[in-house]
């Protein structure tokens, strides 16, 4: 059994860990509010963008001449996966959830004999994937320096993807990120951005008759690259809210666990102290009796 001194030391150590996790939880909660706000503020832009593109693509009759970003390169051989994770750890299952999702997708691609290329955004994703998929990772981007998620970072990633697409380095591009549902639940998502998937193809009725100036395809050519950046920006915003939420609940759990542990250790400490006292008493009494 551990000595009284050891127990005391352990209690202090657990208590100070608890203080740290508690502080981290507070910080995450404050950051979460901000991140959530900006994720919500960013939604109108991406929604509107999506609607306009939907309207435009419905108005394009000649699908063959549609821009490649919309229609794809006609092949399905090389898949580019953009895995978006955080730059910091201690946020529960946040990063592992994304990489788990991504890994199952990688497996599917490789099993079907297609070529795989990976871009990681955020250093944690790179750390987790580099062991098994080192040879597939072609780029690793991290925005450790920028304090807040901003559009120009997203634009940089978007431009890089488009450049690679125009060079014919891949045919299909999918991004992986965590969608923020609430503080406790974040859903890892895969979203195909090139070629663009129009999910709402069912409601053909509300096709608006728009005037276009200049022509549809010219507008689309201008709009589609922006849409890529916007989608990535949206993913980054969702990710940062999810990261903080996940960290908050992870730290909350850690604080609670530490509390339980302190309780258990204190009981053990008190018991062994009592045992020591009893032992001493017995010694004194039996000493006195033998006289």
């Amino acid at each position: 059994m551990a000595s009284l001194d050891d127990l005391k030391k352990r209690i202090t150590s657990v208590k100070s860990t608890q203080k740290i996790t508690k502080a981290m939880k507070m910080v995450a909660a404050a950051k979460l509010r901000k991140a959530q706000e900006s994720a919500e503020k960013g939604r109108p832009y991406s929604d509107k963008m999506h609607n306009i593109i939907l309207n435009l693509s419905k108005n394009i009759n000649d699908k063959k001449n549609a821009p490649k970003l919309l229609a794809g390169s006609g092949k399905d051989n090389v898949h580019l996966c953009v895995v978006m994770t955080s730059d910091r750890g201690l946020c529960g299952g946040f990063n592992s959830n994304i990489t788990k999702k991504a890994k199952s997708y990688f497996k599917k691609i490789l099993d079907s004999g297609k070529e795989l290329k990976i871009v990681t955004v955020g250093s944690k994703g790179f750390d987790q994937l580099k062991r098994a998929y080192r040879e597939y990772i072609i780029e690793n981007i991290s925005f450790k320096e920028s304090k807040n998620v901003n559009y120009f970072d997203a634009d940089k990633v978007g431009k890089m993807i488009i450049e690679k697409f125009e060079k014919g380095e891949f045919d299909v591009c999918t991004i992986f990120f965590n969608k923020f549902k609430n503080v406790i639940t974040q859903i890892p998502q895969e979203q195909q951005i090139i070629p663009l998937k129009s999910e709402k193809s069912g409601d053909e009725n509300d096709v608006m008759n728009y005037e276009f100036e200049p022509e549809e395809d010219e507008i689309l050519n201008n709009l589609l690259p922006k849409n890529i950046s916007t989608q990535i920006f949206k993913a980054m915003l969702e990710n940062s809210a999810s990261e903080q939420g996940s960290r908050m609940s992870a730290m909350d759990n850690a604080t609670r666990n530490a509390g339980e542990m302190v309780e258990k250790l204190t009981i053990e400490y008190n018991r062994s102290r009592q045992a020591a006292i009893t032992k001493e008493l017995i010694e004194i009494i039996s000493g006195a009796e033998s006289l």
Partner: protein, 130 residues
């Protein structure tokens, strides 16, 4: 009957401006400035760098946009732009840094005509504000 319509300006970070009593908006569309009044035909167009003028009652608001897409339908106008600044709040330093940025971009030999045109346009507008 009022002659006003709705206007929403959004940038990636937030809803920049939302008004429901706009009487006229002049936007720097790619093929020339375009004035939009109530009951304009539904239109989608994209913008070149320039000044968006928003008329509400007797007030005129001027905003510098770097690029953007506009959509007008059923008397509501949406402007999506990646960078927008109120002309009144624009600072001299920002102006010169944006001009430098555009000049840097022009140095690229491989720039296509459209991008070159847009960059030149941006410099023109910024110089006028300066």
């Amino acid at each position: 009957m009022s002659d006003s319509f709705n206007l929403e300006i959004v940038n990636p970070e937030k809803l920049f401006l939302s008004l429901d009593n706009v009487s006229e908006v002049v936007v720097p569309a790619f093929e020339g400035d375009m004035g939009i009044l109530k009951d304009h035909i539904s239109i989608i167009s994209f913008l070149k760098p320039g000044i968006v003028k928003v008329f509400t009652g007797n007030e005129v608001k001027e905003l510098f946009v770097e690029d953007g897409i506009i959509e007008f339908s059923e008397n509501s106008l949406s402007i999506l732009t990646s960078r927008i600044i109120d002309v009144k709040e624009i600072k001299k330093d920002d102006l010169s840094s944006m001009i430098n940025e555009a000049n840097e971009a022009l140095k690229d030999e491989n720039l296509d005509d459209q991008k070159r045109f847009l960059a030149n346009q941006k410099i023109d507008v910024l110089n006028r504000l300066n």
